[in-house]
Symmetry: C2
């Protein structure tokens, strides 16, 4: 059964400024959700829910207050400045709301009279808003689903002849990350202190990470949960995902290599994770579904997929030293991931683990086969061996003042874009208080 | 500077029933906090905050409504049925509130008139209440701080000659756990499904865990947090901890051994973690402070402690097969832990990781030197080699219907007890939906 409907019609146009530009990330076929505020707007900087359309943001919190849009009926689901309550209503409501919003913005079928005036007044220029975390994330889980990335890391740090662990082709490998430091694009990232120990050192020392890295990932936002003790199949898991964001899993490689055995990465990944502010919905991505790569070994039935659950999403990474122009250091595609987010979510619940609205699943670093498609500096510079040319110099790992920006989009008759996910590195703290 | 004051005076007595019995876990010197409801009480089963005293629970939510106790001033911090808002007020308020509650319950200094009547009416028999999660846990982190436990596990699964990883004597090793399945004592635990693969198998199969285990731990509850990018020293970390609970880190050993490389335990630990309902405050534990064991190697200065930050807490594990009496299978003490909770919390923030009120830090399995002091069935039965006698049979790992109960207390002029942390094993689900 095709899930495509008139909201995906590439011929559809909007009456909103900028929405029909070929270069926009946000045509009427996209309609991603985010949280925003307006400084100096007289509302005390309240955080509101909005949808991106062209160069504008449609203020759903206001439209809900006015009764133009009531996805929760009596319950005001856009009132608290997060999408958690809306997502908890489930996939049928997400789709109905998508239809309703598309109709309100449609050039051929525009609302008239009072409703048109209400919708027009609810449009805010994107350049006048500040973006916030779109969801409250209680659980953040990071996966490891690119075969190329896992092979590269295994080659560098373990055994080139057995780079891929024996479990990797059977399990969507993942670990619990730190939700309290998941931040929205634009938030500065402070270089972490940590225990550092070189292979020749007798003992570790305290210092600022000298191998600060980025990781290009996609984040899946869980929209509806499952009760403790009740695993999900992959089809249900696919439907429980509300949408996707770009995700930068900042990593301190020198802290990681000393701390990670035997229980996995901890402080090397805990100091910050950035996500793009606009959640591109699963509904908007439907035309870009793609199969996962051919299986090297058969998967257990609970991980088999009846439908193509990956997406064809082009991805780029820019690195800009302080005061310099950006250089694009990687170009890749999400469709190369060996495990889909639906498979990751199904596996996440296999033990009976409860998932909740707002939970965030990082895809794992997205690396292609070619060297310029690798998703981390660790791989792009081969652990610092091959410095990378950037504007005004070279880089092995990140320096203070560097800004990393991820971009992603689906290409077809229309462009379904993710916007940008940026972060700038601040110097490490002076030390630890006594 | 001694932190002991009149709330620790062993001669102090309460006018409340059962509070002066030598066997109670809850004398006036303890005053642990929990969340409770009363079925059929006419309040719709609302969850309230209370303090345990003898055989009674003092209803703080009601006393706050009545103005007898106002720790948050105008803000009603006991209204939402969790302790998070109260804890966020900080250590000075915790201590003032402890003094105020002790005064209200003191036999020599009892309130009179209306106040006495209000306090009397706010006492509820413990056997009439149902306990709930006392805090909202956003971040659950599990550590690995018993040298004996880490050595035992390393001997069984890695290399007996190098059982302890080289980082272990320098880093309080920990990993992020799954907060959504942290449950209060009395909640049943469903045996997990998982990928299982024996060393001789070509491929994994889907099945119910056959090596379901418990782990005896203490949980530290973070009361006040730290902002992202700002590490804590150990002295501040000690003060930021509100209190402690018993914690059972249920573990599926057969799932764990196949999944855990290279990113650590995931589904083998995600199906459930039980905590005892009463948070014994750090203030109540002050008389029982104990030093950590002698350092095998010097720690980095950020982990050095000026004061003894461990506690002398006796611990026991009971195992009761369905319909059978319980057998005590382990007796140990928290004071043997190589790293204190303050050291763990300081290390947790070293990278700039933000901590929040309600975050839970599992100590790691608490194993002593003697075999009958080990804190898991994995160690007690040496991975199933040495079955353990229990009432009506033997056990290698847990069977359906088994109930595990942890108990803990400090012994001295008075007994500061934790109550019990129990859970019963339910059969695994039939399978995973298609």
């Amino acid at each position: 059964m095709s899930r495509l409907d008139e909201t995906h019609d590439p011929a559809r146009r909007s009456w909103v400024e900028g929405a029909n530009d070929a270069s926009t990330d946000f045509p009427i076929q996209n309609l991603p959700y985010g949280a925003f505020s307006r400084d100096g707007s007289g509302d005390g900087g309240a955080v509101r829910i909005g949808v991106a359309i062209g160069s504008q943001v449609l203020d759903l919190t206001t439209l809900e207050e006015q009764g133009v849009l009531r996805p929760g009926g009596d319950e005001a689901v856009f009132a608290d400045g997060t999408l958690n309550a809306f997502m908890a209503l489930g996939a049928a409501t997400w789709r109905q709301t998508r239809h309703r919003i598309a109709d309100l913005l449609d050039a051929a079928n525009a609302p008239t009279g009072d409703e048109r005036a209400q919708v027009s007044r609810a449009l805010v220029p994107m350049k006048a808003v500040r973006m916030h975390m779109p969801v409250f994330v209680r659980g953040y889980t990071d996966f490891y689903a690119s075969r190329e990335h896992a092979t590269n890391v295994g080659t560098m740090f373990r055994d080139p002849d057995n780079a891929l662990m024996p479990n990797w082709l059977h399990i969507p490998i993942g670990y619990n990350g730190r939700a309290s430091t998941v931040v929205v694009s634009g938030t500065d990232i402070r270089r972490p202190l940590g225990q550092l120990k070189g292979p020749q050192d007798d003992a570790p020392r305290l210092g600022a990470s000298a191998k600060l890295d980025m990781e290009l990932e996609l984040g899946a936002i869980v929209g509806t949960g499952n009760p403790m003790g009740q695993p999900l199949g992959t089809a249900q898991a696919y439907d429980n995902i509300f949408g996707y964001v770009l995700l930068n899993d900042w990593s301190a490689r020198d802290i990681q290599v000393w701390e990670y055995q035997p229980l996995g990465p901890f402080q090397s990944k805990a100091f910050g994770t950035s996500i793009s502010p606009w959640i591109v919905t699963r509904d908007a991505l439907e035309p870009y579904r793609a199969p996962t790569p051919e299986r090297v070994k058969p998967l257990l039935p609970y991980l088999e997929e009846e439908t193509p659950n990956n997406f064809d999403i082009r991805l780029e990474v820019d690195l800009a030293p302080q005061g310099q122009a950006a250089t694009t250091i990687s170009r890749t595609n999400y469709k190369y991931m060996y495990y889909s987010a639906a498979q990751q979510l199904a596996h996440h619940t296999l033990s009976g683990c409860a998932m909740e609205p707002g939970d965030l699943l990082g895809s794992g670093t997205i690396s292609g086969v070619a060297k310029d498609s690798f998703g981390s500096l660790l791989e792009l510079t081969w652990n610092g061996r091959d410095p990378l040319p950037v504007e005004g110099g070279t880089r092995t790992f990140l320096e203070d003042g560097d800004t990393v920006t991820l971009r992603g989009w689906c290409e077809g008759d229309v462009r379904i874009g993710f916007g940008a996910c940026s972060g700038t590195i601040l110097p490490a703290p002076d030390g630890v208080p006594a």
